[in-house]
Symmetry: D2
Subunit: 306 residues, 4 copies
């Protein structure tokens, strides 16, 4: 099995990218040391690159200064790997402005979340104009980012096809888990338009359909098994890919749907990475859930095997 | 690629089963002649069996007499193929009673829709008791049927695992299209528990995950391509399966989500089968949509190739 | 405060109508004796009439024979009061047929639930045709019945206005609790079109807006206070109406949203009426909830005062 | 009819407060001149005060500098009237910090939107902690703000009752339009806790239930009729209040649900106020909708009468 052939443009999404968490200290401040330590640890794994300032990075709770210092640190720590940076805000111009700033700091591409506060007004046409304007201005390629569990704004099936002709629109991270929608996106966009799966429970079937990448919370705490799943699917070892998908399923659900970012951060810490604290109003995982999550994590790692 | 090994029990679901439409005459009466003609035509295709009295069969608009005459006709027309019959009603005892009647008429298995009018009361425990009681009484194996687009009741992820130990529960038709859920069902049930995909846009990835069957409206009007998709996936021809999935996607969406049963019936008629009329309040497809559907159908058949 | 003036036609909805429960015996059979005893008890209260075969009457779990015997019993027990009968089914013709049968047995009007299984197809136009056909055929006036909590089909705001000109369409029972919608309905229909509130937590404000009746589960177990609320609102005693509304709120929520029909039946029994059993898959209220409901009931009655 | 008696604390919400729009110039910059002109025009109307930086003020698209200059301008233009300022952000500490800044600039109270990006994590407990922390820190009283149409986070029914004992929590703006919920809030909070209705189509019935204020988009373009509705309800002129409610309904729906902020801004301009442009991705109302809105506005004003 191989994904649709990527275009000639660098950067391309073709592999697994963990959406990095933003560790906070107990006093609420950014913990850049922990952030950098994670990047150093990830260097040993078969990863395509990193996403900074995504949903799992608690971007909505960060000030602009904090965002920029994270991007700078990520650029330093990412080595030659692809650095994708979340830059979506409610205002089109504010988004365009942030794209410029993160590109200046070394982002290879930007991931632009759908505006969503005025969700009933977010028609295909409104979103098309928003993305075209951002892509016109951004110094680096733009990826759409649709995640209705957070935004309430699903990807309109026709939007990716409308935006794909823009030379600076490079693809999408689609995180709804809806593979019928992913099929429609793949069918309506050219091969150079990368489709990244943002929902770990459906990574393997998404790769079967033609997705070329995975940007998944679970890859932060279990980068090895997720990368192996990707390679297995890519090399046609379907039984192995299916087995890894089943092994990762409970963990993938626990660190997103069930416990959210706090669960993911705890799982990082339990896995030897540095999760740090969450920023309020988010709160840490309770004691009972902590034990349950530890068990889920251990079982997933054991099931995934080496 | 192969599905999870089926158990020893007959009947098993392992292939494609069209959910037969119920053709009505212009005066609103059942058109059994058309119904039988369709069965005759389907005999030439690589199908595992048939579903009668499903959602696409307009079961909620049929009286019991009509239901029983359709089952009898289906038994006559199905030859040796598997006959699965929809028997779910709101009341547990009414459901059990209908299971007995259709088994008497030759149903090989029953498909039991979740009760749903009192949806907020449909807890896992309530559904478990309902299905256990029905399975205790039914002379033939019971398949769960979950289709939240119609019922508003999604499959509780833990329900199939709770019911699988019952010797007369044979599997599930899961029609939400949610492959994360399907993965959870597959992971929590033994191999003898058959998982049928009820959502055509995700048939190929569902088969990758381990589903063993497809019960899909589009198989009524395009049985050939759907059956080929199934065989391709089963024999590991992933590129071919993916290609067929993409070819069928617009048609699959048109005959379900977009135009509903009326669209499916029109597509049958346009394909040389006999769709007949829908029963009010459903109404036929308008003139503009008719042309659009014809085009969608022709393109799908052309794209699927021979 | 007075409701919009009713038209000259009998029957009109102008007061409180309890939606009668259908008591079942422990063996699952209809308990007509209990049903009749409740009617006898209700005769002492200030009620406009009764609804039989509504959602709280477990209509979806009843066979047609059972339905007809309930209507006959209700006619005998209702005295000269208005008898409204639920007659909505999925099929238009089946609905029309049931309307005829219940009218023959003495129903003064029929309450016709929106068809809902094929909910995405239930456009304004489809619903309009359905109701017009039923109203053409029904020997007694037709009331629309919209209850999205059960059906998933909200009342299209323009539907009542489209149907109101039909001489045999008499009004609507709107049970969403959405008073913006109720305002739109009242604004788009003439005075002869009765709007009944089907959501007890908003009865008083609905009467302020111009609703002329209430058909509410809580009126089955607390007919006295609900009737007093109605009279207080009608006679302009707003403080008293508001006080009664607040007193009834926890009970109204408990017997519908929280515990469903089983909760309502238990509350009837605790109030000296005869609730009987529910029909599976519904199941009785658990022990802990039983005590909680008893307390809620006692508090509501005490708060409502005499 | 009178609302629940307010407490002794200043400020209290007891009347109509328009949620001010933020006019932008065609080049996208803040138009403070237009903003101030509106305040000057509103001075002639029977209003309790103003809300700045609410949803209709496009707060999510404003930078902090812009927000602060709007607050300063509003303080200058509000005269002695109550100035309520939207200060909710995703992070608890960022919210607390903004509360301090706007209080320094003369806000009399802050309106704190529920955090919502991580909506599945926004449990009652998480929200309780968030509001308690903000109320601990804010120099001025805190009002909750729940608006699920924008946030996807409905007000947990028990939250206001849990927060009401805090001496610096003064009330809530509840904008769901769900009057059953409003009844629960009123029943679970003391009289000093102000409940403001944020949904114009249900203003009159909300006042009947005991709400003490209205913060409503339609009050920006039709302050006179909305204020008259408030006074009529307060003085027990129910027929007049009901009449005004019906007259305002189509306009209220048009400037929120239908056309959003762009519709509201156009309606302001058509009414002689200064709406200005919206900030992209929002876009202006199209030509056809423009005419329709003009008609809706004219009819509402004519129906409301003088």
């Amino acid at each position: 099995l191989h994904a649709r052939a990527p275009g000639d443009g660098s950067p391309r999404l073709d592999g697994i990218l963990p959406p990095l968490v933003t560790p906070f200290r107990p006093d609420g401040a950014l913990d850049l040391v922990a952030f950098e330590a994670n990047l150093e640890a990830y260097a040993a794994f078969d990863l395509e690159g990193y996403l900074v300032l995504g949903s799992n990075g608690e971007a909505p709770s960060l000030g602009e200064d904090e965002k920029l210092s994270l991007v700078a640190a990520a650029r330093r720590g990412a080595g030659g790997r692809l650095l994708l940076v979340g830059a979506g805000l409610e205002s089109t111009e504010a988004t365009a402005s942030l794209c410029r700033k993160v590109a200046d700091l070394g982002a290879n591409a930007v991931l632009v979340l759908t505006p969503h506060y005025y969700r009933s007004q977010m028609t295909v046409e409104v979103l098309r104009r928003h993305y075209e304007r951002v892509a016109d201005v951004s110094p680096v390629p733009v990826y759409l980012y649709t995640v209705p569990a957070f935004t309430g704004v699903p990807c309109p099936p026709e939007l990716p096809g409308l935006l794909a002709p823009h030379p600076n629109v490079a693809g999408i991270k689609e995180s709804s888990g809806d593979l019928a929608l992913m099929g429609q996106i793949l069918a309506s966009t050219p091969e150079r338009f990368a489709v990244a799966c943002g929902s770990a429970p459906v990574l393997y079937p998404a790769l079967c359909l033609g997705a070329s990448a995975g940007i998944l919370a679970v890859a932060c705490c279990a980068p090895g098994p997720v990368a192996r799943l990707f390679r297995a699917a890519r090399s046609g070892e379907h039984e192995e890919a299916r087995r890894l998908q089943a092994a990762l399923l409970p963990l993938a659900t626990a660190v997103t749907k069930k416990h959210g970012v706090a669960g993911l951060k705890l799982a990082l810490t339990l896995s030897g990475f540095r999760g740090g604290e969450v920023r309020p109003p988010l709160c840490g995982v309770g004691v009972a859930a902590r034990d349950e999550l530890r068990t889920t994590l251990e079982r997933a790692v054991a099931a995934a095997g080496s």
